[in-house]
Each structure stands twice: as C-alpha cells, then as structure tokens.
C-alpha cells in the first residue's frame, strides 16, 4: 500500500463487508483492499456501455402515456388518443390490467407497478388524480391546478408534479402527501412537455416547451423544498422519456424533432453524458425504470401513428471485481 500511495498519491481504500460492485459503484475503476476474510487487493472495472434492445410489444399502440415501475415490473397507462388502457410489463411481455377510471393522455405518472399514481392530463385539461393498487384505479383528491403536459416523480405516499399547460405553460409545482396536493415553490422556468425523475426529496425536471430560447435543454433540480437550475442537457428536447431512481441518477431518451430524436443521455448528479441511441427515434414515449435498467414504451415513431414497440435500456455487464492478490 505504501508503494501504491507513492506512485498514485492516494492510499488504497479499505472496504469491509459486501463488495461495492453494484452499478453505479463509487469504486468503479478503482483499486481497493477487501479486509473481509483472508483480505485481498481487488479492482472494480468500468461498466460496459449501455444499449437499447427491443422489448415486447404493447397490446395497444399509443403515445403520450404515463408510466411507473421498473423494467421487469412496469406499468404504462393512458395515452393518445385519450385511452384508459393500462398495461403491465414483466420484462418480456405486456398484459392488460385494470383500466384508468377515465381516458387520459399527457398526464403525470409515478410509483411502482402495484402502487402507482396518475395526475392531471387531458384533453380537456384535468385536475383528477387516480391511485392504482395493483388491481384497480381509485379517484382521490384533485390537483389544485388542472393541466396537461405535466410530469412528476415519487411514490403514492410522497410525490410531486410540476410544469404542464392549461392555457399556457406553467411553472406550478404541487406535492402529494398520500392524501392531498399542496402548492409549493414554482419552477424557475415555465414549461410543458418536459420529463422528470426522482423521489420526493431529490429529483430532476428537464426540457420541455415554453421555456424561451434554448429552453428545451434547461434542467432544474428539486431538493425537497425548491428548484434550482443545473447543467443543461446536451440535446434540447420535449415530449421525451425520463426515468431514474433519484436526483443524481437518471436517463432521458427520445423527443420531438424532424426527424424525432433517438438521442439518449445519462445524468449522474454532476453532468449529462451522451450514450447509445434508441434504435428508433421517437417522441411522446414513456419511460419506466432507472439509468441502468429501463424499459421504455409507446412512442409515435411514424408521424401520427402511435407505436406498440418497446425498447429496453440495460447496462449489460455488471461491474466485475477482479481479485489481484
């Protein structure tokens, strides 16, 4: 270890307990000393690049749906043209499950496959909120402001929605405490058709329309109390998919354009990195999951034609630990 410090200028970190080899690992690309058992020097290699592969087809083609869950336990509900259809994904195929109480599109969805929330949407603009228990949707307390093009993140016990449009793009933000919505601090920039990821205390809202010049690349971070502007995406976009497990781990993909974009970017809490593209460029798509494993569905790949195709984002190789002792 003395030689290592002399050469590299820093000591080898010592780790006791479980191996830090779940992506993303703070030990990625680093040598460390495993003090457990016999003790050994080990190295955590860099993860392989993520890619998109085709997934199972939706039963009902649509765009502008909302979603919740993960790549292997996902849920996509509603969508253009204002359908109530709800489908569950198991990592291989989609199955129709309990419909929304009413047709909806461009609403905000979050949660997990067995406990999801759907709020707002339209047209006409809605203030309704529904909660899914794994079997059926139940109407609960309404939003304070009806709007579509809205986005949000969290759980059925603690969540947030922001942005959207009623007559014009808005910066309004509301938090959900499991029972009702409360208006809280607004976004810095008004916008609609953005996308977001995170949990109630840490999240990111990116892109959208109505944010002014170059606004489609603007990104704001939520810290549980207020929004602050952070680094912009490399590609300006609206009507795209976003998904992530916190405000420091997310992914965005697709979006409107001529042609629509296939571009994908990952957010690590500090910067956006362009990664491998979707195979099929698309807009108004729905993402569920996180930056290392994300299922994505339902985008208008051909102009005006809702698509059934799904693509799955996966970083195929988990970080490997190599024993150097």
């Amino acid at each position: 270890m003395t030689a290592f410090k002399t050469i590299k200028g820093v000591p080898v970190k010592t780790v006791a307990g479980g191996q830090p080899n779940t992506y993303p690992s703070p030990f990625e690309g680093e040598l460390f000393y495993d003090s457990d058992g016999v003790g050994a020097f080990k190295f955590v290699g860099a993860a392989a690049a993520g890619t998109w592969a085709s997934g199972g087809d939706l039963n009902t083609g649509r765009s502008s749906s909302a979603g919740a869950g993960t790549q292997t336990a996902g849920l996509v509900f509603g969508g253009k043209p204002n359908v109530a259809v709800n489908e569950a994904y198991n990592g291989t195929s989609w199955t129709e499950v309990g419909d929304l109480q009413a047709g909806n599109m461009k609403s905000a969805g979050f949660g997990i496959q067995t406990a999801a929330l759907n709020a707002g949407g339209g047209t006409p603009n809605k203030d309704t909120t529904e909660i899914y228990n794994g079997t059926a949707w139940t109407e609960v307390n309404d939003l304070n402001q009806s709007r579509n093009g809205i986005t949000g993140f969290g759980t059925t016990a603690a969540g947030l929605v922001a942005s959207g449009a009623s007559d014009a793009p808005t910066s309004l933000t509301e938090t959900w405490n499991g029972t009702c919505w409360s208006e809280v601090n607004n976004l810095n920039a008004t916008r609609t058709d953005g996308a977001s990821f995170g949990i109630s205390t840490t999240g990111v809202l990116a892109g959208g329309q109505g944010t002014g010049a170059g606004g489609g690349a603007l990104v704001e971070a939520w810290n549980g109390t207020c929004w602050s502007e952070i680094e912009e995406m490399n590609t300006s976009r609206n009507q795209f998919a976003a998904s992530g497990k916190s405000g420091v781990d997310g992914l965005v993909a697709g979006g409107e354009g001529t042609p629509n974009t296939a571009n994908t970017e990952i957010w690590d809490g500090t910067s956006w990195t362009e990664v491998n593209n979707l195979a099929t460029s698309r807009k108004a798509l729905t993402g569920v999951g996180n930056s290392s494993s994300l299922a994505i569905a339902a985008g208008a790949t051909a102009p005006g034609q809702p698509a059934v195709n799904t693509e799955e984002w996966t970083i195929p190789q988990a970080i490997k630990t190599v024993d150097l002792s």
Binding site: A49, S54, A279, T301, P303, Q305, N309
Partner: protein, 101 residues
C-alpha cells in the same frame, strides 16, 4: 461508414438484442425501414429478421411515402372554426419529411 437498407416488421422482444446493438449501427424509420451497418454482424441480423433488401433510394421513398400519407391525414383533419395554432395544439406539428443517412 457504409450502410445497408432493408424492410422488416419489428416483432418485439429479441428483434434486436443488446449484443447486436454493440456490433453494428442500427436505425429504425417509418415504413419498417431499417438502416444497418455494413459488416458481417449487420448481414447476420438482416438474415435473422428476414429483412427485404432495399437500395437507399427505395428506402428513402418508403419513408417519405409514409410521412406524406401522414401529412395528408393531418391536412384533412380539420375542426370548424379552429385556428392553425389550435390545430397544432390538438394534432401537434404537421409531419415533415426528412432525408435518411
């Protein structure tokens, strides 16, 4: 980079895999048009999916044809008294043609 062009219907799971995506360029376009990197792996994928080979101009014509059909649908979808801004709000922008690589 050289490309090949084909048409094939995406059947869903395993139509293209993560491993295949690391081996050759792949783009899907309207009309079930696929642009495939011109290497052995790309050739194997075209064979796997029973892709129907097209020239670039044939592929472009298919893509353009699908978009022009969508443009006609858009042009004919009108609501009495609706402004152009309101129509865009309802239908989004008129589909636009583009050139494939």
């Amino acid at each position: 980079m050289a490309y090949k062009y084909c048409t094939a219907t995406n059947w869903g799971k395993d139509f293209f895999t993560h491993e295949e995506r690391t081996r050759f360029h792949l783009e899907g376009h309207p009309g079930n048009v696929w642009i495939v990197g011109d290497n052995n792996h790309g050739d194997q994928w075209i064979s796997k999916i029973s892709g129907v080979s097209k020239t670039k101009s044939e592929a472009q014509a298919i893509v353009t044809g699908v978009i022009e059909t969508a443009q006609s649908v858009w042009d004919n979808d009108n609501v009495s008294g609706e402004s152009s801004d309101e129509k865009i709000l309802r239908l989004q922008d008129r589909p636009a043609t583009y050139n494939i690589i």
